[in-house]
């Protein structure tokens, strides 16, 4: 793949150069993108391929609780589940991370010690992002100080829709700096960006500003993750790597509840960005109820029948 002539390091030199670059990206045809996603969704993943996909999807889950009613007890329960998703089958892989609000990071960190499961924290006035930048930075610094391995920030969608791309660029760069060694996931909230052109521009904006991951949604806005939105983001990370050599991950979050859905996402990853993205390091599912469906499907492959909801743990 060829690179653009633009020196990507200079892209954000000014508001106008950044705008020129983002608007110079080739457009996304809505009908075509949705057709492509729908066609990939007809792939038939059976037997050994299904088993591989179920385990891979399990290992990519960011098991999430982001509720006002969250308590240390709830978070500890979720962490136990993340370490060992299926108590009846130790071969079920652990999830990638537990995702919580900043004030519960320390609890999660303690509960996950030694497990290899990472702690992700949402920050930057999640989910709306509507506060002063200093507050957002303080939010991030607090999460990191509590031990967050990964920070899921939200972009300022208002600024994006107003065309103030440089403000978002600067904010992402500042958050990235505040993250220190923590991985930064940039939530685009695609349900508020609405068009695929916007999704593509926001993806590039987040990558240019230093995001390690681009993430579809907070889960608090409908629609959350969709297959075509994720397709467009995967095309963006693929093109970004071809242009810069840097690989950026993708997280599809919100609304993915069944194994069938998750496998469709994996097919899209496989046939769009490619197999280099088929690891928990580069692709994640932000989900809560998905994990139990993956476990039930896994049990079904082993035993030939569905065990039902009482044979997986509910938290």
């Amino acid at each position: 793949m060829t690179t653009t002539d633009t020196q990507l390091s200079d892209v954000a030199a000014s508001a106008s150069s950044l705008r020129r670059f983002l608007h110079g990206l080739s457009g996304v045809d809505q009908v075509g993108a949705e057709e492509r996603a729908a066609r990939l969704a007809t792939r038939s993943i059976k037997t050994t391929a299904k088993r591989f996909a179920l385990d891979l999807a399990t290992s990519m889950v960011d098991l999430t609780t982001l509720e006002g009613q969250d308590t240390p007890g709830k978070v500890r329960a979720l962490c136990a589940k993340g370490r060992q998703p299926d108590p009846s089958d130790p071969t079920a892989p652990p999830v990638a991370a537990i995702c919580v609000y900043p004030d519960l990071v320390a609890t999660a960190k303690q509960a996950l010690a030694g497990s290899g499961v990472r702690v992700a924290s949402v920050a930057t006035a999640f989910p709306s992002g509507r506060t002063a930048r200093a507050v957002k930075i303080a939010d991030v610094e607090y999460a990191v100080s509590q031990g967050a391995d990964e920070v899921d920030m939200v972009i300022d969608r208002g600024a994006f829709l107003a065309g103030d791309y440089l403000a978002i660029y600067d904010e992402i760069a500042a958050v990235k700096q505040a993250c220190g060694g923590a991985h930064l996931k940039v939530i685009l909230e695609t349900g508020e960006l609405v068009t695929y052109d916007n999704v593509k521009r926001a993806s590039w904006l987040a990558m240019l500003a230093g995001g390690d991951f681009i993430k579809t949604s907070t889960g608090k806005v409908q629609p959350a993750a969709t297959l075509p939105v994720t397709l467009v983001m995967l095309q963006s990370v693929r093109d970004f790597r071809a242009a810069t050599g840097r690989q950026v991950g993708v997280k599809a979050a919100g609304g993915i509840r069944t194994s069938k859905d998750a496998i469709r996402y994996l097919v899209v990853v496989n046939e769009t960005a490619g197999e280099q993205w088929l690891t928990p390091e580069w692709f994640r599912f932000g989900a809560s109820s998905l994990l139990n469906d993956l476990l039930m499907q896994r049990q079904k492959l082993d035993t030939g029948h569905y065990a039902g909801h009482d044979y997986v743990t509910e938290d």
């Binding site: 045809d29 075509g32 993108a33 492509r36 038939s44 993943i45 059976k46 391929a49």
Partner: protein, 478 residues
């Protein structure tokens, strides 16, 4: 080995029953031939013999035409439109009910991937019958005069690339307008037409309204030249179309021809590139490129040539070539050895003429007829692969600098069936569509078909329109 290896996901063959021998469908029943001979139809993906079929003789053709005439005079011609509609709706519903069986049968006999026969061929065939069923009692409102009348007996000859769908394109409008038909499916793909004969019986369609005679080109020639035929409809090669036009010149027969193509798929620099690449792939590799309206000439604006070509090659490496019955197969088998030989020959000509050949890396099965998805770069208007219809998974890539040059190159062909335009600029789409000499111009998509949309060509791509209100005209006197 790939990280994510898709396990085989074959569609079951057990949903379809193939008889070991088929007669001809004449006068509402399967009959043995009077003067024909048996031949075999094979699965192009394995070379396995599927069934023995009957090549009709001249007396058989005559019998079929007389059966159609009798049904026209006594039953179908006088029948009110709303009653004809009931039969067409019934056929459409049976096509849907038996969709899985028909899809498997089509993939077995034709070699096309089950994904396409399941998602495109069979649903569209049913849609064609539904659509024309709706016209049957509304013909006086079709803009073709106050009292349009059927023509009589239609002799219809169809190709092997979309056997059941082309049958639907031919039979649905003919029957809706009150004609009866004798249809000859292609020699290499008779099985879904014979299954359709069974569907006619299941729908209790009056005997003789639909007759199916199988066989090769001589059977088609006997049919179109038969004195009892009032209307000839042919889809196939320009060469045969020309012979048919000559053979019926001077008779009172009406004729529609849907022939070859060498469509230009024009990609402008402001196109949505990922979707354009998808459209290029769909344009030329859909149905192994066995598509008369295939986008076989890619015209790319020079400023995005490298980028488009890079993306296209990358996309082509993900195409899954193999077992047509596997639900994950994108590209199936070439339908027959003669076609494979032609594709190979023209590909060799392309390389010899100096174009650069590139094929997607893929493992082709040992048995059967296969050709890897291939593109040629450095092609110019002077190359044979830019002018002749290859009718296979082979794309010729050319470049242009300005919209005017794109139009000039796109139109510089003896054909004129279809074209594609890829751009984010709406005004440019309209500007191009006005100037492209092609029956269909797709904008930011390709190979889209709908029963409400007319389809047909300019120049050597034939004449007459199929589909939509316009498609009625071919089967009505007015």
């Amino acid at each position: 080995m790939a990280v994510f290896e898709y396990a085989p996901a074959p569609e079951s063959r057990s949903v379809v029953h193939v008889d070991s021998h088929y007669g001809l469908f004449i006068g509402g029943e399967f009959v043995e031939s009077e003067d024909g001979s048996p031949f075999k139809t094979v699965n192009p993906a394995t070379e396995e013999v599927l069934a023995e079929v009957t090549a009709a003789g001249p007396r058989d053709v005559d019998r079929a035409v007389r059966a159609a005439r009798e049904a026209y005079d006594k039953v179908w011609g006088p029948m009110p439109g709303h009653d004809r509609a009931k039969y067409l709706y019934r056929i459409a519903r049976i096509l849907q009910e038996r969709a899985r069986e028909l899809a498997v049968l089509e993939s077995l006999d034709n070699g096309k991937p089950i994904r396409e026969s399941r998602d495109v061929d069979v649903p569209l065939a049913a849609a064609w019958f539904f659509s024309y069923a709706g016209w049957a009692d509304k013909l006086e409102f079709a803009g073709l005069g106050p009292d349009p009348r059927p023509l009589g007996v239609a002799g219809q000859v169809i190709p092997w690339n979309f056997p059941l769908l082309m049958l639907a394109w031919k039979i649905a409008p003919a029957l809706a307008c009150g004609n009866t038909v004798v249809l000859k499916p292609a020699e290499t793909t008779p099985l879904t037409a014979l299954a359709f004969a069974d569907i006619c019986r299941q729908a209790e369609l009056p005997a003789g309204v639909v007759n199916i005679v199988t066989g090769a080109g001589d059977v088609g020639a006997a049919l179109v030249s038969h004195g009892g035929v009032n209307k000839v409809a042919f889809t196939g090669s320009t060469e045969v179309g020309r012979q048919i036009a000559e053979s019926i010149a001077g008779t009172r027969k009406r004729l529609t021809l849907e022939l070859g193509g060498k469509a230009a798929n024009v990609v402008f620099e402001d196109a949505p590139l990922d979707q354009a690449v998808e459209g290029i792939v769909n344009g030329i590799f859909f149905n192994q490129g066995h598509v008369c309206c295939a986008g076989s000439r890619l015209l790319v604006q020079e400023s995005v040539y490298d980028e488009v070509l890079g993306r296209l090659k990358e996309r082509m490496t993900t195409l899954r070539v193999g077992d047509p019955l596997d639900k994950n197969t994108d590209i199936g088998a070439i339908n027959n050895p003669a076609q494979l030989a032609k594709i190979r020959e023209l590909s060799e000509v392309g390389a010899a003429e100096g174009a650069e050949r590139w094929s997607a890396p893929c493992e082709l099965p040992e048995h059967g007829y296969w050709f890897a998805p291939t593109l040629f770069t450095g092609v110019t208007q002077a190359h044979r692969i830019a002018r002749e219809e290859i009718f296979g998974p082979v794309l010729s890539v050319l470049t242009f600098r300005t919209p005017a040059e794109a139009v000039e190159k796109a139109n510089n062909t003896p054909y004129g069936l279809s074209a594609g335009v890829w751009t984010d600029k709406g005004s440019r789409i309209l500007w191009m569509a006005e100037r492209l000499r092609a029956g269909v111009v797709w904008a930011n998509t390709f190979n889209k078909f709908d029963p409400a949309s007319p389809f047909g060509g300019y120049k050597e791509s034939g004449y007459g329109r199929e589909g939509g209100r316009q498609g009625l005209e071919a089967y009505l006197a007015h």
